[in-house]
Assembly symmetry: C2
Homo-oligomer: 369 residues x 2
Amino acid sequence: MTYDFYMPARVIGGEGAVLAQSALLSRFGKKCLIVTGGTGAVKSGALADLQKALDKEKIEYMIYNKIGENPLVTSCREAGVIAAEFGADFLVGIGGGSALDAVKAAAVFAANPDLGSEEVYAMNYKNEPLPTVGIGTTSGTGSEISAVSVLTDTKGVKRSIKGDFGYFNLVFADWRYTASCPMSVTVSTALDAFMHAAEGWLGPKCNEPAAAFAAECLPKIYYYLKKFLADGTLPDDEGRKVLYHASLSAGFTLNYCGTLFPHPVGYILTEHYGIPHGRACAAFFDRLMEKAEKYAPERAQSLVALLGDSSENIIHTLKTLADCSGIVITEERAAELIKRWHSNPRNFDCTPGGYTPQEAAEALVLLSK
Amino acid sequence: MTYDFYMPARVIGGEGAVLAQSALLSRFGKKCLIVTGGTGAVKSGALADLQKALDKEKIEYMIYNKIGENPLVTSCREAGVIAAEFGADFLVGIGGGSALDAVKAAAVFAANPDLGSEEVYAMNYKNEPLPTVGIGTTSGTGSEISAVSVLTDTKGVKRSIKGDFGYFNLVFADWRYTASCPMSVTVSTALDAFMHAAEGWLGPKCNEPAAAFAAECLPKIYYYLKKFLADGTLPDDEGRKVLYHASLSAGFTLNYCGTLFPHPVGYILTEHYGIPHGRACAAFFDRLMEKAEKYAPERAQSLVALLGDSSENIIHTLKTLADCSGIVITEERAAELIKRWHSNPRNFDCTPGGYTPQEAAEALVLLSK
């Protein structure tokens, strides 16, 4: 185990942080492009706060609000080209994982407007990306503090890019912006955060800082997952705050450890069956625990101990909230779906005991069983 | 509680990291000054590894090895002026807290050779300090990942500076360099790391990341403190690694939370009675717990729960290892010693229930009782 750590973003937390610390924005220049998906940025109040802050600092801005869920690399390119034409000095992303992941790529295109959409995946850019600021509005992705950006390519496949360019220069972490999230988003994003920390904990790269953050957030997230299942009600303010902060801690673990097979296999459920990302990953928690109990029993046991519940209850909670039982995938269809993996993705190899596309096919078939 | 986080240093861990990752050094330029205290850098093997790495990268270097324990601000200035005259592009500190704290200040002087020794405390520098690389050789200070530098001023008083300039650009975290630490240094530095995490845990600023790191390292450090008391033997390789990594985690907590009264009051024991820093702080752990049990009982109880031992045993372990019982301070002498505090230092105000110079005087008198 090595003690590696790198997360250079300056994270400023607290209620009202955007307005209280608006002076930090002016370090990046006089013009910015705001990149968002639209509704979340408005409903959360984050966009209004940011506009006030930019006005206060006399920073000119434009808004690009066409980022959808599972953001398209072509939209990122569009935003980047607009930023370049506008002469933006920096970009601000507001939203959940989609807008935050998108702004990282948009900053690359803004500095390299000649780069083709698909060329962003090569992660070899002539010009340094523009500085980025992130403002989160969901408690799941952890994109605020990870170097990762997951983008849907021109063939409709989710693929990630990762590198120092993926770190925000500045993050405002005000939990109040998550308070307007509807139930479905709240549950799915909490599942996403849970899976980031749990996959990190069970994987081979879990060093001390990654374990510290996972141990800090997992019991908190699990408490609310059980509560969602029991009450079906939205969290109160305290719950919103706990879940948002927990999603950031899970992001630290994700950033260093990466993910295991549930993430890439989950992409299939999102791309082809419209299952939101967090639920799509959590749908495979039972299979992951099977693997871990067999090939990394100490880690599996310590995870169960951390959560303070029985293994059966934990699996039941995750599976029920993931709610993929209605999806019926035949063996033939599964065989088609796994053709995307010509070689094992890294997440497969990192899974305790390893993982194969054939096992992924079996897991897809077993979903409705 | 706000979720603030900032620690931009790139920490590269692992055995042989300096040689394996030598290419990272050449990002900073072609000439560097090595700043060390001498023996530790040589005995640990860190200096030899660094010299090989610099040769490999064709980086020219000079060595300044006159940093003593509780480093003098005048020595930092001397090193900085030498670096400037040599035309160094960056500085590398090798050592425990003394050399690492010193190189941070030397980098300020190197970029500002006209700055007077005492002017460094104003923390307002015309030119950006030169980049710094840190290589730790003790498991205590956490200076590798904190923005703090504690320097002895021209009047012999320990005073700290803190700011973004205090972060290393790059840290090599190879636990093997701590393996040559003698017993006395091993115990005192472990006590220092313990106090960083414990003071952070008990203080008012302990947010989620700070708590995560403290919870990760405290049980590990305490396990070895008890072992020191029971066996009086040096830790094996596994213990060296655990303790070094734990000192870094404690450094994260320190960096965000700061310290409570044991640190400034401990400085008196170091300056006037020659007690090494870690022991000097740990000598006041009993008084700190008294305060915490009264004014922050939940935090005190959770600390005891984390350590998995009785409050009495914990206090006994810390006090015995701190070993200040031979120091006799009269009431008159104590009244003299506390005159350094014209107003309460921040660490006093952060202590649960607050703290006053008068209480510090009482604690000094009580040391031998």
